[in-house]
């Protein structure tokens, strides 16, 4: 594993994503759902909304890093607000 050059922050990052995937899989099995159409005009399931959240968060954090000099934690806060919005309205 040494060649993969693991660090704690990246390990935590992947653990969070992996556990999100596991949680959403369990949710999908335990509580089946029907897709709904939100503000984007497309049909989404919980998994779709998770994908939109993660991808959007990556871009939000990059934009925060590129355009501001403030602490990166605020980028994460914005991403969480974005996540809540996606799960509520998309």
């Amino acid at each position: 594993m040494a060649w993969m050059a693991w660090t704690w922050p990246t390990a935590i990052f992947f653990l969070v994503i992996a556990s999100l995937l596991v949680i959403f899989t369990i949710l999908a099995i335990r509580f089946p759902e029907t897709p709904r159409t939100g503000v984007l005009g497309i049909e989404t399931t919980r998994g779709d909304r998770l994908f939109i959240t993660l991808l959007g968060s990556a871009f939000l954090n990059l934009a925060w890093l590129g355009w501001t000099d403030l602490a990166q934690w605020w980028g994460l806060v914005i991403a969480l607000v974005y996540a809540a919005a996606v799960f509520r309205w998309v």
């Binding site: 040494a2 060649w3 993969m4 050059a5 693991w6 660090t7 922050p9 990246t10 990052f13 992947f14 005009g41 497309i42 049909e43 994908f51 991808l55 990556a58 871009f59 990059l62 890093l65 590129g66 990166q72």
Partner: protein, 289 residues
Amino acid sequence: MNKTTNQKAWFLVLPVLVLVAFSAVIPLMTVVNYSVQDTFGNNQFFWAGLEWFEEMLASQRMWDALGRQLMFSGIILAIEVPLGIFVALNMPKGGFWASFCLVMMSLPLLIPWNVVGTIWQIFGRVDIGLLGYVLDRIGVNYNYTQDTVAAWITIVVMDVWHWTSLVALLAYAGLKSIPDAFYQAAKIDQASRWKVFRYIELPKMMGVLMIAVLLRFMDSFMIYTEPFVVTGGGPGNATTLLSIDLVKMALGQFDLGPAAAFSIMYFLVILLISWVFYTVMTNLDNRGS
């Protein structure tokens, strides 16, 4: 009818998952790990945090390469998709000549990327290449090693030569699936050629066309070998597309950290655009059915 619900078939996907894990997921995780560290080789890594991402976001070089890449993908899509549809519309509908055209058009698709690059590299040379020599003799100032416009025209024409037939073949398959009844109805209504195309052929081809656009976009956005063999990214940096720049950074300069940060952003852009294409595609399908 009683349908048994059984999800065990998912286990059949396991071998693919294992393969993808080793060929894609683990390398991608490694790239993420590299992107937050610095190394001078010898497998020693030093924590660098988000420094490389910051550096890459501020780097004019990356934005320029991204701009060139978007321009390249935009140009080839704007040429290949209409041209492919045009070719498909004008192909024989059956018989010997239909098979002949299909085989002829598949030929460029079978040639390996580096060979395509070499063919065009020689074809365009002013001293020995047929194209370069002829252009030079009739007085056109064409030299893809020194002139930016000539270099761009060469790589665009090369890509069009290589991949238009893919679009044409897909569009042809879409056209073949339209039942004759549609055309007969249009004839009874005295629909013009344009209206037949607009209201019958185009909607019926939409599905395959979206696949063609998606394939051509992803492929052109990741293109490396052909322009690298023909122009090597030159003259200057004029045809240094994203992947060429990335390889220069990672393997040429051995800047693994910045190159990893660069790759991740490259990956995110591809993921975003592919997702948009995919979503549009599946929504069109849903609306159609």
